[in-house]
Symmetry: C2
Amino acid sequence: MVTLESNSDIGTLAKQLWALGDPVRLEIIQILPTRPTCHNACNVSTIAGRIGLSQPATSHHLRILRQAGIVTCEKKCRDMIYWIDLEAGSAVGERIQNLIGSS
Amino acid sequence: MVTLESNSDIGTLAKQLWALGDPVRLEIIQILPTRPTCHNACNVSTIAGRIGLSQPATSHHLRILRQAGIVTCEKKCRDMIYWIDLEAGSAVGERIQNLIGSS
DNA sequence: ATGATGTATCTATATACTTAAATATGTCAA
DNA sequence: TTGACATATTTAAGTATATAGATACATCAT
């Protein structure tokens, strides 16, 4: 059952790894904070400016990260602020270790 | 300098994560041993049979994993045997943790 | 109305897969 | 040993699908 469970999780893990497997999105991850805050560059426009991409394109990448469960967002005032889902993020790292060391 | 170094590594890390971000390749990772051995299913044909894919397609996925430095291969007799590069593999997991916890 | 974000649509590029051909290595008979 | 065949893998060519990015439009709060 554990096998079945982890097996069905493979699609999810692959999705998360794929979402992280892009230089632009890794750069976004580096910029994003780990907690919801307005102090740093956590709204889409500022992130777009820092990585040198248009706002829609940045929004697109953020959506991919969000759908993979790696980042979370919330409407604060008039901005949409993004931050990293620490739990999900570190779970990805752990799953890789478990997967590789299991054979 | 650490920043610059880790910055130039981002492309490599992205490539490794992208290589791992595919259900088929994760399945291959699950099958592959962590040391060169002929006992298990470590040659291309057997792997192809286990994941239900053609040999060329399997070879293609193995090539991607190899170019990302996640698996290693060596010619043994007439077969090409593959195994996981443990060091590189666990380094990926660690880098994710460091990247996410840094902000 | 204004400013910020998300969605839709479209184009260029990249990826995954298959079939077919090439390469390399080992086996067997003469 | 030599030549012919068999096996395993890689590479190439071609096609269908997926993705990244831009532009334009819709939405929502101030």
